[in-house]
Symmetry: D2
Subunit: 316 residues, 4 copies
């Protein structure tokens, strides 16, 4: 992570300040507010602000006048019920605002989640920092042969070195030329005689692993949906680590909702009608095989993974 | 307004509690948090929670690390610039949550604003309160003859009395029958022998002036859009009074953004290309009339209102 | 259903007209275009327009230049893959526009689906038709005792008669008074001496079973989400019948997508992490009971229903 | 523009096919369907599908049963009324689907318009084409000195040559290395012994002027909003040319709505409350100057531009 001394001082200053509020306070998240959680080689996630806590979910579901006098045990039960039955609107009553530094190619995946508010640093107005993502050697994976969108084994030896050299050199050269095009380095003109290309044009010379930053704000329902897709094993590693960092903040913020999310989403499985039929046959003792299941090869494989059974339908 | 003693006690209890927070605090809105602002005969608006303040708009626009050290004067200038140039995303970084009690026919207009989170009390689960809107005599307006969607003169005498009697009697009878259908009054069965019609069916007997309640949460950009449409003179009186109450809370919350909103939205005018041409002709001294303007009658009338000129194009 | 002769003639005229288009044509839905499918006692659903077909889903997923030369068998496989893996954006590339006549209390549930475009007939400008929903006797259900939001046994005898009489009388009286307030009946003033109350006020005297109408337009992904929630057994009967009518139109429009939707959504089950653990234990031969399952009573009941096993965890 | 022979043949084949439909047909847009309109050096815009026409806006606004029997003159009047009074929902009843090839840095601006459906070609699955945007010399503008986000004079001579060389070389080298990382060129392995880096990683080596493609679908209301912002003189040239191409297609599709859009949006001005006060003073003959106007320097300049008056408030 690369915070300048000034940036870290600004963060520390803001962490020291407290004020009195009548609003509900989520003490677990207060603890971590503003702190930069490092992600990848230069990125971070910071929680900047939030609205609501576990009790606010319950309060909205009941459209209540006060905090309510119900026991915490009842809150947990209701939150689990709401999660299990896909009642999403009470979860929308909590909101969080994050400051994220992330590579542009990750930002392009992230932005597909449309139900969020975003303020990205503009490379039409500003000059992007000289910060570029280069994978750690253990994440330099080959293309999967089995899966068109997956990763295979980690590259090694000369091949790995060559790949890292390319990624490092091309982005460094591109960034250096970006500065030359702008005719600006460290806040000063390189050549006082030149004007420099317009910022909105010069930026096109940057590579997709250059870091950008944004403020990103969303409600808890949409945040959990984001986590379900992006903390998933099928998500690209480079976005998954952001999702993991945000998941930890979410757990600190709304522990009951997060627990329900783990049980009813993260660790849950969606089983199709035909696959359910197979499970029912297995439960009455039938030996179901890939062939007799009637499922496609892909679906049979996915079902076996979920049930942790062998290919013959018998548990290992 | 009709808060029960228990409800008012819950509100008071919540207003007394404060806690320390690291988040930004908007002192003007803290002052009014949870308080029920009366609207119409039984309705109210209560601010339940908020995220951000004027400085948070600036902070998001700059994607900054801390609160920033800029002077408040610069904040005001930037907020006005953002509002004038329709940069909406920084305003989306502030969020507010309201608890509203409102007649169903008002709720039906309100819900058309889709970019908001809503938890409405469900008449499938719960029994709606016996609270019904009946207009004050001074708001009992006749249908406008000029304007298909407008109100004309206030009804008076026997006609007004008859209208009020109908509104009062039909809704009261409908509500009484609603209880009879449910076989429940004041939380107890009316006739212990009967089951009562399903709540989800019985509710259809209610009239559209019955009050409902919801938690409504939106960001500042969408809130201001709501206020622009609903605090407008063309909006129906019964929703305008809610918009007015919310406008006052908004002003307490983000005074700089609200001031910019007044100048660049509420008191501004959108002037069409052809109408601008007319203004330009007037400014070089031409006497433009409805006939020579080339505008439709409606647009000419609207332009004259905006410019506060007489029909001949000369100022009064 | 209550179409006037003029309305039916307009529909027939539009059905007779055809024109040449270069766009993709979904012949199954063309067949039913504009036709009013009756729902409830006076309601209907009409497909007014559509964009795309099954092949358009595939074409968008592949971002292709033409219709593609792939076999229909491949299209089916890809559509099933997309549905199974929650790739929603290709389904968003199809769009449908419906004209719906529905009771106001149904419209209030429906409108919670925010990702849609809606044009509702405005009771500020127009006078609503004298059409009121009264349940058929077999749908006049008692409140469920077990389930706060459910229906129990059907009311019978005097109790049913009383309920129907109330629903019929109150809404009829309210509608009659609505006309009196407006001072307008069948397009003419009732009393030429009076002005009549403003339409925007008079409407509040109507009961929630009065019919309204709207044009409703949404994409296929959001339509299927709507169907999943509203064609479900837990949805209120009065909205479920609309969902059923729309499901039939959807099947005619995009038969492959609809088949995948049935397998992977309608007939599928979402099984929580703890419940999956129970299934795994059952599959290796353990006799799991409600007590030893570790699930809540509600979740155990739901799992048993899905697996079609008895309470003891043994298949029936 | 760079369509392969195969792609052009697919487009031609689809343009030749027509079928009968009962849907409304917009003949102006039918004419141009599927055709690739060239934009920038390798980009294009193609209209793939649409729903509705001018009459459909009117039909939705009236919630009508048929096409209606009103004269076209009335349709134009109603459409202009709806546009003038910001009644957006009838315009949402028309939908268009485009296929766009565009540089990544343009795609990143475009995607901020959230109310649209998007299917972008995935560089996790697929290999992006070797197509890179390099500005034409006349668009190689210097950074504006006056305006932090604007362009100044066009670069010339050696400076221009150097800038073009950098943009060309860096992107070409980055693309070549992208292929080397993938170990794939023209669909075949470069070195049959190597696996190649995962596609999802290799893509990060590309520069932001590499072209991507997507299917983009939106409703007419949101399309016009996009055009208002992106066809504007303040938008970056590289996105404005796309907006211009789409504007021409929109005019062919819904000529009446487009005409209203020009009058009430494109050529209109939004004048703030304080600026309106200045106009009113001018109209009664007062000589208003920047100093006596009470406006900020920026706002005074903007008002003068709109009114086409000199700085002294007198028309030129």
């Amino acid at each position: 992570m690369s915070l300048t001394r000034v940036q870290q001082a600004e963060i520390d200053a803001q962490r020291r300040e407290t004020a009195a509020t009548r609003r509900v306070v989520a003490s677990g998240l207060e603890e971590r507010l503003y702190e930069a959680v490092p992600v990848l080689d230069h990125g971070f996630v910071r929680a900047i602000d939030y609205m609501g806590d576990d009790a606010a979910i319950v309060q909205a579901a009941r459209v209540s006048y006060g905090r309510g006098t119900k026991a915490a045990r009842d809150d947990r039960g209701l939150i689990r019920y709401l999660m299990r039955h896909w009642h999403s609107t009470p979860f929308e009553m909590c909101e969080i605002k994050l400051h994220v530094k992330l590579p542009i190619f990750v930002a392009r995946q992230w932005i597909r989640h449309r139900t969020a508010n975003v303020n990205e640093i503009s490379a039409r107005y500003s000059i992007l920092d000289r910060e570029i993502y280069v994978p750690a050697p253990e994440h330099l994976a080959a293309q999967s042969v089995a899966n068109r969108q997956g990763r295979g084994a980690v590259l090694e030896g000369a091949e790995a070195e060559r790949a890292l050299a390319i990624l490092r050199d091309d982005s460094t050269r591109a960034y250096g030329h970006y500065e030359e095009l702008l005719n600006e380095r460290d806040g000063a003109p390189i050549d006082p005689e030149r004007t420099g290309l317009a910022r909105e044009l010069a930026r096109m010379n940057l590579t997709l692993n250059t870091y950008t930053q944004w403020y990103w704000k969303t409600d808890l329902h949409n945040l959990l949906h984001f986590l379900r897709l992006r903390a998933d094993a099928h998500a690209q590693y480079e976005i998954r680590v952001y999702a993991d960092a945000i998941a930890a903040l979410t757990q600190a913020w709304v522990p009951l909702a997060y627990e329900a999310f783990e049980d009813y989403r993260l660790n849950a499985a969606h089983i199709s009608g035909p696959a359910l039929e197979v499970v029912r046959r297995m439960l009455i003792g039938e030996q179901v095989t890939a062939e007799t299941s009637g499922l496609s090869a892909g679906e049979w494989r996915e079902l076996s993974t979920v049930l942790q059974t062998t290919a013959s339908g018998r548990a290992e």
